[in-house]
Subunit: 213 residues, 2 copies
């Protein structure tokens, strides 16, 4: 079991980062207190993904913020990233674990309570649970489960949970109250006018919510 601070979990989005670019957005988020970054770019070529992942590893390692690669185990290994995140249309977590070894972080997205019965949950370090709310940043997302759905899942698993989907400063405390260790965001940081300030606000909300438990 690899420990990862899920408090403020940034998922990158090339489109939403706009002219600022992914790297600058990630750096701003790290200055604001992001605790983990996931590289997600399903339309990029493998070549571009490897280049991007290596650049982000280089940016993040001095800050001790782990880089997790969405879906692509090969890219994570080629770039020596800190981990991989797989979803329901990616390879089984057990296959991913066999390829990345015991020392890299492995996350799995689950979209409904029934996913808790998957046999490969034993090999993951954390769960991404959602979408809590509807989100425009993932076209093929499952139906939203609401805070009630998040809470039902959190009470049934001992794995650390990061809440995913439609999270922002206005509902992050509720996600923590429902049992999440942190919030995963895309637009709340990437599309913010000031990503550093947006991240700092989220980080303070999460810290306060965890302290008040």
């Amino acid at each position: 079991m690899n420990a990862v601070d899920l408090s403020v979990y940034l998922v990158t989005d090339r489109g939403l980062s706009g002219v600022r670019g992914v790297k600058e957005t990630v750096l701003a988020a790290v200055r604001g207190g992001a605790t983990v970054v996931q590289l997600r770019d399903p339309d990029a070529t493998t070549r571009d993904l490897v280049v991007e992942a290596r650049a982000l590893v280089g940016l993040l390692r001095p800050h001790r913020v782990p880089l997790i690669v969405n879906d692509r185990v090969d890219v994570a290994l080629a770039a020596d990233a800190d981990g991989v995140h797989v979803g329901q249309s990616d390879m089984d977590a057990s296959d991913a674990r066999a390829l990345i070894g015991q020392d890299r972080i492995l996350g799995l997205s689950i979209t409904e309570e029934a996913d808790l019965d998957r046999s490969d949950l034993t090999v993951v370090d954390y769960l991404g649970v959602g979408p809590v709310f509807a989100t425009p940043t993932k076209a093929d997302a499952a139906p939203p489960m609401g805070m009630a759905g998040l809470k039902r899942i959190a009470t049934r698993t001992g794995l650390p949970i990061v809440a995913i989907g439609g999270l922002h400063a206005g509902n992050a405390a509720d996600a923590l109250a429902a049992g999440a260790q942190g919030v995963s965001v895309v637009s709340a940081i990437c599309a913010a006018p000031d990503p550093e300030a947006a991240t700092r606000e989220l980080a303070e909300i999460v810290r306060a919510a965890r302290a008040g438990r």
Copy 2:
């Protein structure tokens, strides 16, 4: 250096295989004498690719026909495929070699003579060279190099070459005369009314061309 018989190199295409399906097409091609099969399905999810690759490994291994996975090193490893084929928009061959080890087959597509100067050519087992002719089965293909381009490249490298792009029974012998060890085809087999007969015809042409050298 891993030996691979490049004579009749089938690249799968889900769309062109139609109702017959990829597996049935591959089996027919193997009965007809295909010597190597590459799984290529850039639009499939990772989950579906792993399922497909495992199924093809299971089909092909009893026939001692290697399965090579296009681009996706992670899928090749998860399915224990025999090798990987990378193109110019995939990861460097040297990165792929580091991930797959010495004993799996590694192929690299090159699209122009200048690609022969790539430093990672030292780690590949064969080259895919093309497109020789224009092809409708790869949307982002480079400009065709013609038989003259294939010949120029073949005279400059000691690596085994499979000719790619617009190859069929009518021009396979020319490709062999230009220096290729075999022909890579998609539509000439997948879109043929009788894939087994189409493969047999190609295999006989290649065999005759190699015997006449």
